[in-house]
Symmetry: D2
Subunit: 302 residues, 4 copies
């Protein structure tokens, strides 16, 4: 990732000017503010603003006037209770605003999460930079042979080299032509809103993305999951690290009840009961399909 | 409105402890934080938290790294441009969290605005206070004779007195029975989630309500409007006064383009053009229905 | 529940006039259309319209041109896969529109589910009917002694009689005064938007409620749950019966993976593994709080 | 646009099998069902399903039991009233499901409208077809010189030819490499979720898109507008033609009050009043900025 000196100077300036506020402050998050955490080869995530902290969650749940006199330990217990019982609205009372730089094909996955506010850099209005995501060799994976929607081993050296060469040269040529098309030197110059169509999906874009904590947890559960595509998962993991410092009780409950937890179907629950009663249950006697049984078994073995 | 001494003490304590933050700070809003602005006889609105300021709107619109070097005058111009051209997403980058105490029948109108986060005081879990909205005499209006959904003149003295007496005595009796039903003195005590059904719609409830600035403007345009029911309009007006201090450029653009503006239909626009060309247009020649023409005329006369 | 002869005649007429359509048709749902299923003493749920069927879910998941040539058994397997892996968007491709008559305090719980479209009968504009929810004796429950948000035993005879008497007489008196306040006989007549504030929360209201199948399942999971308040649960159960006939594969997957399933926390999963390995795990060695352990144990025993 | 014979056969089959339903039927929309309306060079829009008709809007507004006995003329008047007074919820009671084939850069604009349900063809799971949007010569426009976000004249012959050549050859080469990268002939084969990153933004994708009528009107107002990018506007216009046949009263009100209407700011309204009173108003005396005045003047001249 490369920030220009001007960008870095702007960030430094913002971090050098603390101001007074009466609002809830999360010291853990203040330490992250504005800093750009590198993700992939040219991307980043940085916190631009936040609202609330762990106490704001319990305060909303109690509809109280102030922080109350409850001990901190009560806050943690209440947060765990709310998470366990799917009381989602108190978590919606915290809000996070991020500035993210990411490849377009990642942005297209990300935007499917609709309950967020987005402002994307406009390629109708502005000119995109010459920056493309080119995977590291160990991220250059073959198609999975067991799962249509997944990856297998990393590609071997020669095949990998060929792929990388194509990714680089095609992106470079596409960008050269993009520039030549919009140039007004000795010609009219194609409209930007049209010229962008020549650019591949690994070009980087940027956006401001703002979301409440409940919906952020939902995003993180799906995108920090082992089945998520690697290129979005690294963004989700970078965000997890920030959220952990921002609202430590809520994040810990999220880890326990969502990220690290498991969902049992009625059939799965029945099987667990039978197994605890000493019965040996197999796929045939489980009532599950093969795929379901494989997932069930790996959950209990994992 | 009555805050208990404990509630006032909590508010005072929160206002006495400024902390340092690196986030955007709106001085205008800091002055409002936590204070309870009285609305109706027992209600209030108070700001519990906010995110962003005028500069945060333009920063998101530009997807920029910092505040940039743009002069403030540019910010105002850009904000007016965004509002005029219905670019709503930059306004979504500001967020407001309010604590509101309001009669249930007002809450029922308010909640129709779905793009907000809400945590309401739970009458399944807790006991509601004995506080009811009883209108001031000048708010005790007759049904409009021209509009099925509106009010006419204030009721005359005797009729008003009878209405007030019923409102007070029915509410009081209902609350007495509510208390007796849930009491566990010498009896089992009815479940709170059931006993609440005896309480009338003018009892006060409370909630935390969090919304982004774009959706807040939509709420305010509908509810600060002269056609909104008086009892919700006074809440909207109290919020307008806060927003004006929070994001003065955005609020000013909202006043000009939304609150004080007008929408012309294609027919209305055509009529205006004909009138400007010197033609005398009447309802008959306008192509409008009587109701539409009345609204059109009052817009141009108003 | 009472429909007037006019209402029943309108329903009968609608059911007597089948028309031709090229759209997906669910025979199971056609049998329900327009009929009013009684709920509580004066309420009902009736299907006013629906979009899609089981095949519409898989068709959207495959983004296909028609129904394809896939066997029905594949549809069921795919639907179960989608449900198990939280692929929610295909379920959003089905839509249901209901007409519901329900007490106001139930409506207030219901409306918290924000991802739906609602049109409620307007008490600003129209006059509410004299219909109140009065619980059956076995639904007249005491406050739970173990759970602040729940019910215990039914009230004993004398206490129950007293409560019922209050509920009936307070509602009746409130409605009498409502009528007298809005009357224009020999007086101005209070505005309807004000007079309604005198009415208690057990008065019935009505609305049209439209929701997609994914969000409907979310609603049903929370409201058909044993912990939901009885008065909303009976509505959820009535809807479940309709959905089962509308989209039998999707409903069956919902029952297995959501309604009848269970969520294990990371700690809970760890305990299950230890138990399956032969260890005797107690609350003390589980790492769970007492409340959590109680829920965990009852899940495995239940 | 090219449908394969198999796709056309599926469509024909669906249109050949009318079934009976008790639901509201819109004859105008039945005529469109399943047919693919060509848009751009390889795209299309086709209606897959719909819910409701004009009568469904007024039925929901009245929360009525059936169609009622109101004359059709009342329906039209009520629909115009609802549209004029921003009563949006009755329009939400109609729903439309479309199957759309569109270039990726158009899909990226479209998806910003978040209040819709979307199922997109998955390039993680499946292989994209070799189909790219290549503009017609008259759509190959230069960047506007007066508006950063717009188009000017069509490019001249030589420049246009050069641009077209680049668009075609870059897309072709990128697709060749895409195919070679995912091929498993004599190599491992790159994962599809990675290989897609080499494809440019003018490649076609497909999705199912489902939206309620209120939010569809909002989409159409912005995207059928003269300022929208041409490549999304043609989709919006194709949808307008369908909606006009589906809900003719609602569409007519939409045309009059939204598409063909105009919004006056408070300043603009004041200027109109002064002009009607005979005053000559100029930009200098209008209180508007130059940009605002230009838009205001062109509205009154247009």
């Amino acid at each position: 990732m490369t920030l220009t000196p001007e960008q870095q100077a702007e960030i430094d300036e913002l971090r050098s000017q603390p101001r007074q506020t009466l609002r809830a402050v999360s010291e853990g998050m203040e330490a992250h503010l504005y800093k750009a955490v590198p993700v992939l080869d040219h991307g980043f995530v940085r916190v631009v603003d936040y609202m609330g902290d762990d106490a704001a969650i319990t305060q909303a749940a109690r509809v109280s006037y102030g922080r109350g006199t409850k001990a901190v330990s009560n806050d943690e217990g209440l947060i765990r209770y709310l998470m366990r019982h799917w009381h989602s609205t108190p978590f919606e009372m915290c809000e996070l605003k991020l500035h993210v730089k990411l490849p377009v094909f990642v942005a297209r996955q990300w935007i499917r999460h609709r309950t967020a506010n987005v402002n994307e850099y406009s390629a109708r209005y502005s000119i995109l930079d010459r920056e493309f995501y080119i995977p590291e060799p160990d991220a250059l994976a073959a198609q999975s042979v067991v799962n249509n929607q997944g990856r297998g081993e990393a590609l071997s050296g020669e095949e990998a080299a060929r792929v990388l060469e194509w990714l680089k040269s095609d992106a470079g040529r596409a960008y050269d032509h993009y520039q030549e098309m919009i140039s007004t030197e000795g010609q009219q110059g194609l409209a930007r809103e049209l010229a962008r169509m020549n650019l591949p999906a690994n070009i980087y874009t940027q956006w401001y993305w703002k979301v409440d904590l409940h919906n952020l947890f939902h995003f993180l559960r799906l995108r920090a999951d082992a089945h998520a595509q690697y290129e979005i998962r690294v963004y989700a993991e970078a965000i997890c690290a920030m959220v952990k410092d921002w609202v430590p009780f809520a994040y810990s409950a999220f880890e326990d009840y969502r990220l690290g937890g498991a969902v049992l179907s009625a059939r799965g629950l029945e099987c667990v009961k039978r197994m605890l009663a000493g019965e040996e249950v197999t796929q045939e006697t489980s009532g599950m399909s093969k795929g379901e049984w494989r997932e069930f078994s790996s959950m209990l073995d994992g």
